[in-house]
Every structure is written in C-alpha cells, then in structure tokens.
Symmetry: C2
Subunit: 293 residues, 2 copies
C-alpha cells in the first residue's frame, strides 16, 4: 500500500518556519502585504481566494482582495495592477487565474512589477526559472518540490513524467525538475493532449506529475510499481450524496493507482495546501527583498 | 540510407527571403544594424563572430564588432551594453558566449534591452518562449525549427528527445517542441549528464536533438530505425592529417547513425548555417519592430 502524503502537515511545517521569518520582519517594522485581484465570478476562484485570505490572516500577513466585475476592461485591469505596483505598502500582487475570456492574460501579467510577482508568472521570473536561476517560483510547482524534499525523494537521475503543459504547473515543474541543482537533475518527459499513447510514457515514470485538469484520468494500469505520484488535479465531480452536490477529485484515479505505487498525494489534502503555503513564502520573500536588500 | 539534410541550402533560402525584407526596410530609410560584443580570445568565438560579420555584410545588414579584452570588468561590460541599448542606430545586440569566467553571464544578459536581444537569452524573452508566446527565439533552436519545417517534419504527436540542457539550445528547443502551436506539439524528453542510461531514451526518439557538446557520443545502437537526427554539436577533434590540425565533428557518430535513420544533419553544414541565418532574421525583426510599430 502506498504512503499517502500528508500535504496539510507539510504545509503546516512550512508555515511554522515562515512565522519566525514574519516575526523577525515585524521586529524591523515590516509587515508583508499581499494584494489579490479577483476578476469575475468563477466559483472555484472565489474559494481559492478566500483560502489565501485565511492563510494570510493566520500568519499575520496583511492582505487585500479587490473583487472586480467580470466586465472590467483590459485598461481598467492594467490600471489596478499599476496602482498596486506603485503602492510601496504592497509587497506581493496576485492575479487570480483564469481571467474572463475578453482579457489578454499575457499582457496583464507583463504589467506586474517582477519584484512583486509572487505567482512567478511574469516573463522575467518565468525566464529566470527556465534559465536555472529562479527567483519567484510559481506556487504549485514550488509546492511539489517542497513535497519531494520533505519526503526525501531526490529527483536526480530519476525519470519524471509530467502530464500537462500549462504555464502554471506543467511547464514550470518540468523546468525545475530538469535543472542542474539540488532537487532537480531528473530526466524529464512532458506529455499533453497531443501525446500519442500517454500510458506508454506514464508507465516509465519514477515520479509522475499529473497536471492536466481532467478527472481521474491516470489509472492503475498507467503507472509503474513503486512510482511516486503527485496529483495536481482539483476537479469538481457531481455527487448528489455530497452536501455541496459535488466532490473534489484529482487527475489520478486514486483507488487503482494507490495499490501499485510507493507514495501518492491525495485530493484534497495533497498539493493544494502546499500551493497556498508557497504563496505565503513568496510574499514574505518579496517583503524581505523590497525592504532589506 | 538517410537523407543528409542540407543546412546550407535551407539557410540560403531563409536569407533570400530576408533580402526582400531588408530591401523594403531600406526603402523606408531603415538599415538593420547588429552590434556584437566579443570578449576575450576564445578561438571558436572569434571564428563564429567573423562568420556572423560576413553574413551581415552579404545581406547588407550593418554590423559592428567590439573586440574587447578578456580582462574587462563586469562594470565595463555592462557599460558597453548600456551604450548599445541607448544607441538608436543599434537594432540588435549580441554578446558572444561563453564569457570569460570572472564575468556574471546572467547579470550581463539581464542588462540587454529585451527589444534588442536578438539572441533571445534575456529572461523576458526566455520567459515568453516558455509561456508559449515567443518573440526573439534563440538562434540555434530557431534554426532547428526551420530545418524541421523545411523538411516537412511535423513534430506533432512525435516523441522528441533532447540530449543536453543548455540555456542556448537544450532548454529552449524543448520548450519550443512541446508548445501548443504549429511546429510544436511533440512529447518531449530532456536528457542530460545526470540521466541514467541515456540510450534508453534516445532509442525511443522519433526526433533526436543532440546538443550536449561531447564529440560523437550518439552512436548507431542508440537510435531508432527511421528517426530524424538533428546534430547541434560542433566539436574540434585533433586531426594531424587536416590542414588546420583539427576537424569538426558533431555530437553524433555520423557513420553509424546515418545507416539507421531517415534523415540527419551533418557537421559542418547542418544546424550551423541556420543559426547564423536566424540571427540575421532576428536582427531584421528587431529593426522592423523598433521602427515600424
């Protein structure tokens, strides 16, 4: 039976370490501050953002959420970003994705001051990550690295297979796992919707990262005995027996995969808590960089 | 027997198309200009730079090479870059790599105005490439895409294996081949010095990119029948029978690989000519962007 990786506990340990850093910043008169732009009424985005607010509050990181209409124009969004850029009290800026379809995501992300880009998606930060000198690492990939480190799983020399090529997970985790540094040095394969026979690749994975956003797609027959499986999916599936009418499942079919592998992250309670913890970590880093360097 | 891909011919066709663009720019009073910083006395770098100068001259692109002492300090190099950034007549800036070891390459590349970064190595351009909206693509990866397109080799759904994870070739070509766009959509594996049993991966490759900089390492037993092999290597190997005392070989052992594969680029005359042609293309693009947008 697989070890079920306890993402909540790992996140708690990350946050405990952060508390000390935040206290010592406060002794220097610095309170880290995160501003979030939440545009439109995507229900999942609203849930994620309240979780981020709660995490800030628990850690005594100051936070503000601008909940803005889905009708907002490109220019108005950019105006908001620029206000936050110019506000010295704002250390971190997060634009909750996805944006309403009429907005140009790339252009908006470009406008964030890279020093405040706690989501790590500005091209400068994305480029530094690919070049091998990451500064702000996108939160989910950073959380995956944290899990691997905590569980003493060294990717060096292992075959890591990433399924999904999104900008927020697939591409950055691939770059991180292949980089020439501790926590990297894996041979990395990236699969996606155009891959012929994904199972051919996932079966070779020592470390499998499932990040395609399709419920329960990775099944037991698609994994190697003894693999480590990180499930980044967070999908709502209708379930009339559940209180809310739905339940959350990952991109991995947990029951069949769990039987074969060495370790697996559950959904919920796996990667999710780490993603938020890493956002807090990036916000503290931003506050420190902006004030103490 | 494999088709020997004629990089020179493909490069000539690229340059012929460029000539028309350059003429129409000149009709608008614009002469594209490339400035090259060549620091130190690396003999290969001097050869490459003269090839770039010649290519400019043939296409009537204006060029200047600053040949600078290997003793130059970090500050002096940055001062040179800033001068070129501020000079409106300079459209493209290329810093010939590798730099002498006392210099901080990342910091210097960061100083180039991204709009003049014809080598595509500034983090902003590198990040845009990874994010899937490339602007200036590094020249060698751009040349590889050009070869594949010219030879009607569509990477979509194929397994592309990249051996080598350098910033100038391995990482950017991996990002380009996996991107969701025409000329991309391959399943991509990146191998490197820490890969256990590289042959296990190279044998699976439909498209094999050899870019590790180690002479004749990919041998016939390491490739699949019918694969397409792109050899990015350019290594000097002692050869007393040669006029110069050395000959150039790739990272692929040509004789044994050629027998098994469908197509292969030779060294020299494969990727090399394309690299220079793509530098010309980026320079023309920079001149156009800076003047006509």
């Amino acid at each position: 039976m697989a070890k079920i990786i306890d993402g909540k506990q790992i996140a708690e340990e990350v946050k405990t370490k952060l508390k000390n850093k935040i206290e010592s910043l406060k002794e220097n008169g610095i309170t880290p501050h995160l501003s979030v732009l939440l545009i439109g009424d995507n229900p999942a985005s609203h849930v994620y953002v309240s979780m981020k607010e709660k995490a800030c509050s628990k850690l005594k990181i100051s936070s503000e959420v601008r909940r803005l209409s889905k009708e907002l124009s490109q220019e108005e969004v950019i105006k908001n970003v620029e206000e936050l850029n110019n506000n010295k009290d704002v250390n971190g800026i997060l634009i909750q994705l996805p944006l309403p379809k009429h907005l140009n995501e790339n252009e908006i992300l470009m406008k964030i001051n890279p020093q405040k880009d706690v989501d790590g998606l500005h091209p400068v930060n994305f480029g530094k990550l690919l070049a091998g000198n990451p500064e702000f690492v996108p939160c989910t990939p950073a959380g995956i690295l944290e899990i691997l480190e905590y569980e003493n799983i060294d990717p060096e020399g292992k075959h890591a297979v990433v399924v999904g090529r999104s900008n927020i997970v697939g591409k950055p985790i691939a770059a991180l796992l292949m980089r020439k540094a501790k926590g990297g040095n894996a041979t990395v394969t990236v699969c996606h919707t155009r891959t012929k026979e994904t199972a051919h690749f996932t079966r070779q994975a020592d470390i499998l990262i499932a990040a395609m956003g399709v419920p329960e797609t990775i099944t037991g027959d698609m994994v190697k005995e003894g693999a480590v499986v990180i499930d980044v999916g967070m999908n709502r599936v209708d379930d009339p027996t559940a209180k809310k009418g739905y339940r959350l499942v990952g991109d991995v079919h947990f029951e069949s995969v769990e039987k074969k592998v060495k370790a697996i992250t559950p959904v919920p309670g796996g990667v999710g808590p780490l993603t938020i913890a890493m956002l807090m970590k990036n916000t503290v880093l931003a506050a420190k960089n902006q004030n103490l360097s």
